[in-house]
């Protein structure tokens, strides 16, 4: 067993109101710079729609993620030699126009315009060229289904739904899908980078780009099937969501989560077995990928797992955090959170609770008013087609979606009984295979959603990252005399004689003796 801790996020789509606060705060924190204006490390898409960038899910075109070739896991865009041969021109790059051309407005005319018959207008100006431009596409262009009658059918998740769905007013459906980098367990962007500039952090699984090692080969953008690695056109380097690691390291949630007004995001860690990743990502049937992914996660309450985690160097606060992890609860214990597009074989770590939606006909006044016995048939009549959700979250397996939606409906029905002092229908509980205790926990996490329950984030153990004693006095003013006079090891020479090993070798007591 090769145990690793991994940060994950769950977003409860049932609670998302599509306000874009997450996108805006993320943008203000990270991408409000020249070359990055077009980047939305966090964006909220209205589904159905082609999204950002256009048709990012159409992998025939975009070539992202992994595929099985003769039973072997391989990058869809081609293997190593193929990349080096295409290094002078990568035919599969998603160009900036497929995101949108960033612009600003000519605000000066508003102030400096002479008196005229009409109000002065601030015209849009391209941030790429400074020229006036016509805006034909932009961030979140499809907000609340705008233009869906044209773009809807180009949404790859619509396959198999042609008969059922009409993109006409009052006959359509919609949902919000906030997206960030998935910080995959099997990240194809990392695998695509010829320079080894993108890496996964060993201790917490966060995927980052080393800006000094990026050489502008641009294969990561193709490799990521979620199109969440961006290209800074000013610095010519790849950039991506950092999972707000400076915040995470001190135990704070990411800025998108912190500012979510719907309080729908959850952050925590899970333990998984690195040795089993390749096998799990290589299962033949795409529909088995969700289960294979679940099987990767280790039970943090299992004494054997705890022991392994300790051996691997994880501190007790991390093990405790894994045991309290809302991610583990939602994904493994309650099984209501699902990965986004498991068929990309990336083992993504941002999961989603699918949204409930109004019931189309014959059942009258919505989910809560339905007689308990009518709940299950009603699921299939919800406005968002089960098949659509299945194409998003389970590689097309509608049974898993049904089971999740049933749990969500039963939880409401159960809590309604509890609140009204009625006897809960035990038969319903049996059918969804959940105990009253887990159902209660599901309710607490979804409806009460306490800050401390949503975010169980163990602080990073930076104090173990290096020998802090050695660093003493080596940093400070670099003018005048500086601090080197009082430094422990001013020349940063061999650290052996400053370490425990040396102390042990000359007969001193070390932590092993305690």
């Amino acid at each position: 067993m090769n145990i690793k801790a991994q940060f994950g996020m769950v977003m409860n789509l049932d609670k998302c109101i599509g306000c874009h606060t997450c996108s805006v705060t993320c943008n203000n924190t990270w991408t409000n710079r020249p070359g990055a204006e077009y980047m939305w490390w966090n964006n909220v898409e209205t589904k159905p729609g082609i999204g950002y960038p256009k048709e990012w899910e159409n992998q025939d075109e975009r070539k992202g993620g992994w595929v099985l070739k003769d039973g072997e896991l391989e990058l869809r865009a081609g293997k190593r030699t193929n990349k080096l041969l295409n290094i002078f021109y990568n035919p599969d790059v998603t160009p900036i126009d497929d995101y949108y051309e960033p612009w600003t407005y000519d605000y000066e005319t508003l102030i400096e315009s002479p008196e005229k018959q009409h109000q002065p207008v601030a015209r849009p100006k391209s941030q790429l060229t400074g020229d006036y431009m016509e805006i034909e596409w932009g961030p979140n262009w499809e907000d609340d289904l705008a233009g869906v009658h044209e773009t809807g059918w180009r949404d790859p998740n619509m396959r198999g739904l042609e008969e059922e769905v009409k993109f006409q007013f009052e006959q359509t459906f919609m949902m919000y899908l906030p997206r960030i980098c998935e910080h995959c367990i099997n990240p194809p962007c990392v695998a695509s980078c010829p320079s080894g500039a993108i890496y996964k952090r060993d201790e917490d699984g966060i995927v980052l780009v080393d800006q000094d090692a990026c050489r502008s080969w641009r294969f990561c953008m193709t490799g990521c099937p979620y199109k969440k690695v961006y290209f800074n056109w000013r610095t010519h380097k790849a950039e991506k969501c950092t999972f707000c690691f400076p915040r995470i390291e001190v135990g704070q949630p990411t800025i998108c989560s912190e500012t979510c007004v719907g309080r729908l995001r959850y952050i925590g860690i899970v333990f998984y077995d690195l040795d089993k990743v390749e096998e799990a990502a290589s299962v033949t049937d795409e529909k088995d990928l969700y289960q294979a992914h679940l099987d990767l996660f280790l039970d943090p309450h299992d004494p054997k797992v705890v022991e392994e985690a300790r051996k691997a160097g994880y501190a007790d606060d991390w093990i405790e955090a894994a045991q309290r992890s809302p991610i583990y609860k939602l994904a493994v214990e309650q099984k209501i959170a699902l990965p986004l597009h498991p068929e990309y074989r990336t083992m993504p770590m941002v999961w989603y609770v699918p949204p409930l939606s109004p019931i189309m006909d014959s059942f009258g006044n919505g989910v809560d008013g339905i007689h308990p016995q009518m709940i299950f048939p009603a699921i299939d009549d919800m406005r968002i087609p089960i098949q659509y959700l299945a194409n998003l979250f389970t590689a097309g397996d509608t049974e898993v979606i049904r089971s999740v939606l049933k749990k969500m409906v039963v939880m409401r029905s159960y809590m309604r009984s509890v609140q009204l002092g009625r006897q809960p229908d035990q038969n319903l509980l049996k059918q969804i295979d959940m105990t009253e205790e887990t159902l209660r926990e599901m309710y607490e996490l979804a409806a009460i959603a306490k800050y401390s329950d949503r975010y169980v984030i163990p602080s990073s153990h930076r104090e173990h990252a290096d020998n802090m004693f050695l660093g003493q006095g080596t940093a400070g003013y670099d003018f005048m005399e500086g601090c080197s006079d009082c430094a422990v090891n001013p020349n940063m020479t061999d650290s052996y004689q400053f370490g425990e090993a040396y102390w042990g070798d000359i007969g001193g007591r070390t932590s092993n003796d305690l």
């Binding site: 990392v190 201790e203 080969w217 641009r218 953008m221 380097k237």
Partner: protein, 233 residues
């Protein structure tokens, strides 16, 4: 040997080659962030395609052509039985083809960089300088091979420029060898050396980053906090 000759074929080459070596060390240690291919494909794809492909593949063949013609002594070919005719056939046809590809590629790239406004505006002066200089080097080189040598020019660069350049590299320079070279060759040498001199300070440094280690690397890269690189799988 005039002062003029001594400057152009002795002092200047060493100046430029020193800049080339020291400049790279300096740049790598002071500007790792700027060390990249500076790809502009993200802003414009269709015109880049043929320009970049022709130029890059062409220049690779041109490089090996120079190794064969300049770095490998003429005596070596005679020893292994490659005649003057065979050599020239190869140099003119293969070298010519690679030259055409490289020249067309470079001009396409230059045209793209000057006419596509989002590329032009986001270019640095040195990006233009590199492309213009490359075009000069390539076109003079191409006309030397095809225009001069192939049409029966009496000047044999394998007996003059070759030994001179090898002399420069081995610190036994013989300036006399190149003073009588036709002006086309002299411009080619001069501009190429200038390119070497500015090389470390331009995007050309990406050549040293050709990621061959990728072929043997594990797909997924892990790093620990200590900065130690760990790879699994």
């Amino acid at each position: 040997m005039s002062t003029y000759d001594q400057f152009f074929w002795l002092i200047y080459p060493y100046l430029m080659l020193t800049l080339f070596v020291v400049g790279h060390i300096y740049r790598y240690n002071t500007d790792t962030f700027g060390w990249s291919a500076k790809s502009s494909e993200f802003l414009e794809m269709s015109r880049l395609r043929w320009g970049s492909l022709l130029f890059h593949w062409g220049i690779i063949f041109v490089f090996f052509g120079h190794v064969a013609g300049i770095l490998v002594p003429k005596g070596f070919y005679e020893a292994v039985g490659i005649t003057e005719e065979m050599y020239h056939f190869g140099a003119v046809w293969f070298g010519g083809a690679a030259g055409v590809a490289t020249a067309v590629g470079a001009l396409l790239l230059l045209y793209r960089r000057s006419t596509v406004s989002r590329i032009r505006i986001n270019s640095q002066k040195r990006d233009f300088l590199v492309l213009i200089l490359l075009s000069v080097v390539i076109i003079t080189g191409f006309t030397n091979t095809v225009g001069y040598t192939a049409s029966g020019g009496a000047f044999d660069y394998r007996e003059t420029i070759g030994p001179w350049f090898r002399g420069i590299l081995t610190f036994t320079p013989d300036v006399e060898l190149v003073t009588s070279a036709p002006i086309g060759f002299q411009i080619h040498i001069f501009s190429a050396l200038f390119l070497f001199g500015i090389w470390p300070f331009t995007r050309l440094v990406h050549m040293w980053s050709l990621p061959l280690e990728y072929l043997n690397r594990n797909y997924i890269v892990y790093r620990r906090m200590q900065g130690k690189k760990l790879t699994n799988r």
